[in-house]
C-alpha cells in the first residue's frame, strides 16, 4: 500500500486527467478524465490511479488462494461456493486423489471446507478451482468466519507481519482465503481472540500503524507466547 494520505473516493468522482495519469484498477475513463467507479481509497502509484475498494464482493483472480465450501457433489465434479458472484467448479482431475467414477462424495461432500486455488476464469466468468498444489487441502474441523474481502491485505500485513503476530499470540492455526474467509483451529479462547482481532482490522482498515496497535492489543492479555 502506498504511503500517501488516505483519501476516500466515491463513484463518479474525478481523480485526474488521462495524459498525465493512467487509469488503473477501479477506475474508468470518460472524456479524457479518470473517474472512480466504486467506493474506496485512492492510491496513485507510478502515474497509475488505483482504487483500493472499501466494500464489495470478492472478485476472483487466477492464482488466488480461496477457502471454499462444497455445495454439491456430482459424478465428475463438485460445485464449490467461494464467496464470489458465481459458484466454482472443481473437477475430479483437479484433486490429488484417485477417484472412481461417481465416487466423489467419499472424498468431498456438501458442507466440507477446502483450501483451493483459482485455476481459470473464462469470459462469461465461469470459474474453475484446483486442489492440485502443495499446501492445498481439505480443512478438517476448525471454524470458518467471514470478513470484508477488501481488508485481506490488511489482515495479512506487510510480508505477512499481521497474520504472523495474530498466530503468535493466539496459538491458533489460521488459514486466510482471499475471498473473505478465514479458517481457524485452536482452543476456544484463542478463537475468541482471533475474532476480535479480525473485527478490529475491519474497523480500522484505513489507518496507519495498525500492526503495532494489534501487537499491543494482543499482548495485553496473552499468557504464554511461543
Amino acid at each position: 500500500m502506498s504511503n500517501e494520505g488516505r483519501q476516500v473516493v466515491i463513484p463518479g468522482q474525478i481523480l485526474g486527467e488521462t495524459p498525465a495519469l493512467r487509469p488503473g484498477r477501479g477506475t474508468f475513463v470518460e472524456n479524457k478524465k479518470i473517474l472512480a467507479e466504486r467506493l474506496g481509497v485512492l492510491n496513485i502509484q507510478d502515474n497509475f490511479v488505483h482504487i483500493i475498494p472499501l466494500r464489495g464482493r470478492y472478485d476472483p483472480m487466477v492464482g488466488d488462494f480461496v477457502i471454499g465450501v462444497v455445495e454439491e457433489a456430482s459424478t465428475s465434479n463438485w460445485m464449490v461456493d467461494i464467496n464470489a458472484p458465481y459458484p466454482a467448479l472443481l473437477h475430479v482431475h483437479e484433486v490429488p486423489w484417485e477417484i472412481e467414477f461417481a465416487d466423489t462424495e467419499k472424498y468431498l461432500n456438501t458442507g466440507d471446507t477446502i483450501l483451493a486455488k483459482v485455476l481459470s476464469i473464462d469470459e462469461s466468468k465461469k470459474l474453475q478451482i484446483t486442489l492440485n498444489d502443495r499446501n492445498l487441502f481439505k480443512l478438517k474441523g476448525g471454524h470458518l468466519i467471514e470478513f470484508e474481502p477488501s481488508v485481506y491485505r490488511r489482515i495479512m500485513g506487510k510480508k505477512y507481519s499481521m497474520i504472523e503476530i495474530i498466530q503468535k499470540y493466539t496459538r491458533c492455526r489460521i488459514k486466510v482465503g482471499k475471498n473473505g474467509r478465514i479458517w481457524i483451529d485452536g482452543d476456544a479462547e484463542g478463537i475468541e481472540k482471533v475474532l476480535s482481532a479480525i473485527s478490529m482490522i475491519e474497523r480500522e482498515a484505513i489507518t496507519f500503524g495498525l500492526t503495532d496497535r494489534m501487537e499491543e492489543f494482543l499482548k495485553k492479555d496473552a499468557k504464554d507466547v511461543r
Binding site: 488516505r6 476516500v8 466515491i10 463513484p11 463518479g12 477501479g26 474508468f28 470518460e30 473517474l35 467507479e37 466504486r38 467506493l39 474506496g40 475498494p53 472499501l54 466494500r55 464489495g56 464482493r57 458472484p85 458465481y86 459458484p87 469470459e123 462469461s124 466468468k125 477488501s150 474497523r203 480500522e204 482498515a205 484505513i206 489507518t207 496507519f208 496497535r213
Partner: protein, 244 residues
C-alpha cells in the same frame, strides 16, 4: 383538478411554510443493515425509506440471466402501515411499475458489463409515505449501491417538481400531490445530467414543463450533495476516529 384548497398563497408560501423552490428536510444514513451487502436509510420530509442491496450474485432462475451483463432487480414495496388506511400488502400494479422504472434507471449507472450472468438485487421498503416515495426510494438505492461497493458510473439521484395552484414548485408534499395540478418525478446522473427516469402525472404546458424540469434537476443536484455527504460521513469517520 378543481378544489377549494389553497396550496400556495399569494406570497408564494406553501402550506408547510416552504417557498416554491425549497426541498423538504432530508436525512440519509448509509450502512444501517448488517445482513445486506449494502444499505441505506433515508428520511425525506414525512417519507421513511429503507434500501438494501445484495450481490452481484448468480441470477436465478437460469433463464433470467444475461450472458453479457448483469441484471438489476429492484423491488419497490410499500409497508402495509406506510399510508393512512392500511395498504393491502404485496405487489400491486403501481409498485410493479415503480420497481421496473427504478431497475431500468439503476441499470444505466451500474457497470453491469463487469458481471455477466449475475443479478444485483435492490430492495426498497417504504416504511412511511408522504408523496415522492419513488424519488426517495431511488435516492436511497443509490447510496445503498455505493455502500455495497458496486462499480458505478455515478450515484443516481431523484427529485420531483410539480405544479400547484398554477405555480411550478419543487418537491411536492402530500396535499400538494393529491390536490395539485401536476407531478414530475425525475432521476438523473448528477455528473453528466443524463436523465435516468422521467414520469409525469397531470398537465403542464411546454413552458411549464421546461421550468419544472430545470427545477427538478436543480433539486437533484442538491440531494446529490446530501447523498455524498452521507457516504463520506460513514467512511471518513472510521478513518478519523483512530487516526488522531
Amino acid at each position: 383538478m378543481k378544489s377549494d384548497i389553497e396550496l400556495i398563497n399569494s406570497e408564494g408560501r406553501r402550506n408547510d411554510g416552504r417557498g416554491p423552490h425549497d426541498l423538504r428536510k432530508i436525512k440519509i444514513e448509509a450502512g444501517v443493515l448488517h445482513r445486506a451487502d449494502g444499505s441505506c436509510s433515508l428520511e425525506w420530509g414525512g417519507n421513511k425509506v429503507l434500501a438494501a442491496v445484495y450481490g452481484p450474485r448468480e441470477a436465478v432462475p437460469r433463464h433470467v440471466q444475461n450472458p453479457l451483463r448483469a441484471i438489476v432487480q429492484a423491488r419497490y414495496n410499500m409497508a402495509a402501515f406506510s399510508v393512512e388506511d392500511r395498504k393491502r400488502p404485496g405487489p400491486d400494479r403501481r409498485s410493479v411499475e415503480i420497481s421496473k422504472v427504478i431497475s431500468e434507471a439503476l441499470e444505466k449507472v451500474i457497470l453491469i458489463e463487469q458481471f455477466p450472468r449475475a443479478s444485483i438485487d435492490v430492495n426498497i421498503e417504504v416504511l412511511d409515505a408522504e408523496a415522492g416515495t419513488r424519488c426517495a426510494g431511488l435516492t436511497a438505492a443509490g447510496v445503498a449501491l455505493v455502500d455495497a461497493g458496486i462499480p458505478m458510473r455515478d450515484i443516481p439521484v431523484a427529485c420531483a417538481a410539480g405544479k400547484i395552484g398554477g405555480k411550478v414548485v419543487l418537491d411536492l408534499g402530500k396535499e400538494e400531490d393529491n390536490f395539485g395540478d401536476a407531478d414530475l418525478p425525475i432521476a438523473i446522473s448528477p455528473r453528466t445530467g443524463e436523465v435516468l427516469l422521467l414520469q409525469m402525472d397531470g398537465h403542464l404546458t411546454v413552458d411549464e414543463f421546461n421550468e419544472a424540469f430545470d427545477l427538478a434537476v436543480k433539486g437533484c443536484q442538491t440531494v446529490s450533495e446530501i447523498q455524498k455527504k452521507a457516504i463520506m460521513q460513514k467512511y471518513q469517520s472510521a478513518a478519523a476516529e483512530v487516526q488522531e
